[in-house]
Every structure is written in structure tokens, then in C-alpha cells.
């Protein structure tokens, strides 16, 4: 089965581990991922003022391209891309003024015929026809946990794992619609389906510091520390994320966290797709584990999960 998949810029360049593990896992589930022709950056940040209409053009172009390729939906894994695509799509459906103004920008785009590569101009208005799904959502609603369970080659043996949602998957809830923003279940259900034990901890939905790690590094260090510490003190052997930026803040900058907070012993950070791929039988050499600053290799063993020392 072919489905549209929007990796986004970061997965293509810096954080290929998320992209590669997604593709490998989907292969195990007999799902072929197709990227929309000529996709561009989504803009990373959903425009929050009523006047920044042009910020909606990029994500909606991507979605329109999916429609042109007869796709009903597109899946993403990066939380930032997911939020921007989903919110832009909702805005154009809900707000007639935005619909009118954005389509005025989009109408005269150059169209490339997928087969002949012939260029023409003029598009039908995009009306929000394509659904935007996070891979977690797709796995739950389209693939089904039943099917995942039936294909498991290496169930995780109850490894205690913390699900980290961060901001973008859940909020604002009226746009994202992935569950109660202070009591979500989606990620935990996924972890159970792959045989891990989700750890309940109160920071699963708190912010990791986001891009403040660049403009105000200390604030991000503290925010990430609180999340990691909470996960670890509640018994997690690893924390799983869906977002390359959360990964950057919590894994790549974990040495800085340890420097600032001496009581923190460290915690491996995984992409949820790495867990999925490995459980479905993918070899760990292709999971991009070499991109991790905090070694996570030990978690992927055929033997029972390692003891967790707190």
C-alpha cells in the first residue's frame, strides 16, 4: 500500500535517524511511503497573527500537491511539520477569509505534470481536502495496534519507556485534536502495542525549551532537565520523542544538562520509530543510533531489557 509521507527538512538533512527508522518500520508493515512531488519546507512555525497569511502558503502547497497526486491524507513524524500542516489545513477550512486570500496566492503556481514533467499554470482552489495525520495517529487508526502486535519480532519485554509529547503534538488542542492536552493517551497506547511499558510522569506534556536552546540556552537546558529528570525518577529507562528539536534539546545537549545539573545521571533519548522498527525486526545498525549523543545501543538487545538503576 502506498501512502503519502512528508518528511520535512530536518529529517532529510540533520536528523535522518527519524526518517530512516520510519521508512524501515513501514516496510515491515507493507506500507510504501511516497513523498509529494517537489515538496518544500512547511515554514516550521504556524503564523499566529491574522495578517501573516503568506505563511500559510508553503504548508498548503504541500497539501495541495498531495491532493493533485490523488492522496486523501499525508503522514508526518516531525511534530513541528505536523502542527504547521494540520493547523494551516484547519484554518483554510474554517476561515473563509483565509481561504480566499491564500488561494489568491496559490492559484497561479506552476503545475508540473508528474509523468511528462510538463509545466502549466493554474490550480483549483485548495479547500483543506487532504487530512494531515501524525504517524502515531496513522498507526492507531489505519494500521491498527492489532496488526502491529501480530508482526512484532522483538517485543520490548516491558522496557519502561517514557512517552514525551512536548508541545506541538497536543496544543492548541482545538486545532491538534490528539486528546486532552493534560492527560493524553495516544503515545502510551503505542508503546504498549510494541511491548514496552509506558511510564507515567507529570512532564510528558511540558515544553523542552524549544528553539530557546539557541536564543536563551540556559532556559532550554533547565526545561529539558526537568522533563528528563521527571521521566527518569519515575522509572524510565529511556524517553521517546517524535520531534527532532526535542531530540536535539534532550539528547544532543544532554552533556550541557549534566554540566548544569550535577544530580542528573543521564537518560537515553529515542525516536518512537526506532522502537517500532526494532520491535518489528529491523536491525539496529540501520536505526541511526550513531547519531545519538547519549548511547542508546544497550536498550536494543535481544535479551531482556537491562535493569534500571535509579
Amino acid at each position: 500500500m502506498k501512502v503519502h509521507y512528508y518528511p520535512g527538512c530536518t529529517l532529510k538533512e540533520k536528523t535522518t535517524a527519524l526518517d530512516v527508522s520510519t521508512r524501515e518500520a513501514m516496510k515491515c508493515l507493507d506500507i510504501e511511503l511516497v513523498e509529494p512531488e517537489g515538496w518544500t519546507c512547511c515554514g516550521a512555525e504556524y503564523p499566529l497573527t491574522e495578517e501573516k497569511i503568506v505563511g500559510l502558503a508553503a504548508p498548503l502547497r504541500v497539501l495541495r500537491q498531495v491532493r493533485e497526486e490523488n492522496g486523501d491524507f499525508v503522514i508526518t513524524t516531525c511534530s513541528f511539520c505536523y502542527a504547521v500542516l494540520k493547523r494551516a489545513n484547519k484554518a483554510i477550512k474554517d476561515d473563509p477569509l483565509k481561504h480566499k486570500r491564500v488561494n489568491a496566492y496559490l492559484r497561479d503556481d506552476i503545475k508540473i505534470n508528474a509523468l511528462t514533467k510538463e509545466k502549466t499554470t493554474g490550480f483549483e482552489d485548495y479547500n483543506g481536502e487532504v487530512r494531515v495525520l501524525h504517524l502515531l495517529e496513522y498507526l492507531r487508526d489505519h494500521v491498527g495496534y492489532q496488526k502491529i502486535r501480530s508482526r512484532l519480532k522483538r517485543p520490548f519485554g516491558g522496557l519502561p519507556v517514557a512517552a514525551y509529547y512536548g508541545c506541538r503534538l497536543l496544543r492548541p488542542a482545538k486545532d491538534m485534536d490528539l486528546g486532552e492536552p493534560d492527560d493524553p493517551r495516544l503515545f502510551e497506547e503505542f508503546l504498549e502495542a510494541v511491548g514496552a511499558t509506558p511510564v507515567d510522569y507529570p512532564f510528558k506534556q511540558e515544553c523542552c525549551g524549544s528553539y530557546l536552546s539557541v536564543s536563551l540556552p540556559d532556559a532550554a537546558t533547565e526545561a529539558s532537565y526537568r522533563v528528563l529528570r521527571s521521566a527518569r525518577s519515575n522509572g524510565a529507562a529511556a524517553i521517546t520523542v517524535t520531534c527532532p528539536l526535542c531530540f536535539y534539546n534532550m539528547d544532543r545537549r544532554q552533556d550541557k544538562i549534566k554540566e548544569a545539573f550535577l544530580d542528573f545521571p543521564g537518560l537515553p533519548v529515542l525516536f518512537f520509530t526506532q522502537i517500532l522498527a526494532w520491535a518489528l525486526g529491523v536491525e539496529k545498525t540501520v536505526l541511526g543510533l550513531n547519531q545519538h549523543a547519549v548511547p542508546a545501543d544497550d536498550l536494543f538487545r535481544d535479551a531482556p531489557a537491562p535493569e534500571v538503576t535509579l
Binding site: A44, E45, L48, P172, A173, P181, G209, S210, Y211
Partner: protein, 135 residues
């Protein structure tokens, strides 16, 4: 110094612009402070989120436009998700930031990112940060 509250068309226009740009009714806020209580970066802010909306309500444009807070909000929407009145503070922040011209010393542009860090950073960080806080 005692702050003189004004009520002229200029003050009204500032409040109206914030409301128009953000799509939020700033008068819906009854100052419970929950946005500040849950904000992950409030401790770094010179003006707390609830104070930002308070200053807008009072029409004290200068105070709010010159606060560092505008460039600290990471749009994590924690405030929005818990606001008892459903106000999206991140949008109010963005609206005020939009009205700030020139953007001032707290803005953050591509030039501020050291080249070696830029090599390492996920693309989304640079795009998002520069869209948000750029001069």
C-alpha cells in the same frame, strides 16, 4: 512615577490592533495568572504573560512593547491549553511583537547563530526561530 492612564483614540487603536491581529478578546482575561504559573520561561521574563495582557488592557503600549518577554515566548501553548477563558496568549504575544517596530535589541536573526552551531542545529530551529523573533 505614577502612570497616567489614557483613554484616547490612540490607546483604543493599540488595543484594537492587538485584538485584530491576535483574534483574541484581551478583555476576556480576568487576570487569574494561570498563564504565568505554567509558563516554562516565565522566570526569565521581565513582564509575566498575565502582565502582558494586563498592560494591553490598560493601554500601556510602551511598557509592553519594550519588554523582553516578547522574545522569550516559545509558543508552547501551555498557557493556551490551561487558560480558563480560552485565550491564546501566544497569539497575543505575537500580535504585540508584530506591532513592535523597529524590533529592537532583543530580536534574534540568523546572524546571531554561530556558524558551528548552525551546522549542528536542526533546520526547523533556525527557520522557526528566525520567523518568530527576527529583526
Amino acid at each position: 512615577m505614577r502612570v497616567k492612564l489614557k483613554a484616547g483614540p490612540e490607546v483604543r487603536k493599540f488595543i484594537e490592533r492587538v485584538e485584530e491581529l491576535s483574534g483574541e478578546n484581551v478583555y476576556a482575561c480576568y487576570q487569574c495568572g494561570r498563564c504565568s504559573a505554567g509558563c516554562p520561561v516565565a522566570s526569565e521574563m521581565d513582564v509575566l504573560p498575565n502582565q502582558v495582557i494586563r498592560l494591553v488592557q490598560m493601554g500601556l503600549a510602551e511598557d509592553v512593547l519594550h519588554s523582553k518577554t516578547l522574545f522569550l515566548c516559545a509558543s508552547c501553548f501551555t498557557c493556551q491549553s490551561r487558560c480558563p477563558k480560552g485565550i491564546d496568549m501566544a497569539r497575543v504575544m505575537e500580535a504585540v511583537r508584530h506591532l513592535l517596530d523597529p524590533k529592537g535589541a532583543d530580536a534574534f536573526g540568523p546572524g546571531e547563530i554561530p556558524p558551528d552551531l548552525a551546522n549542528e542545529l536542526p533546520q526547523q530551529v533556525m527557520v522557526a526561530l528566525c520567523r518568530k523573533f527576527s529583526k
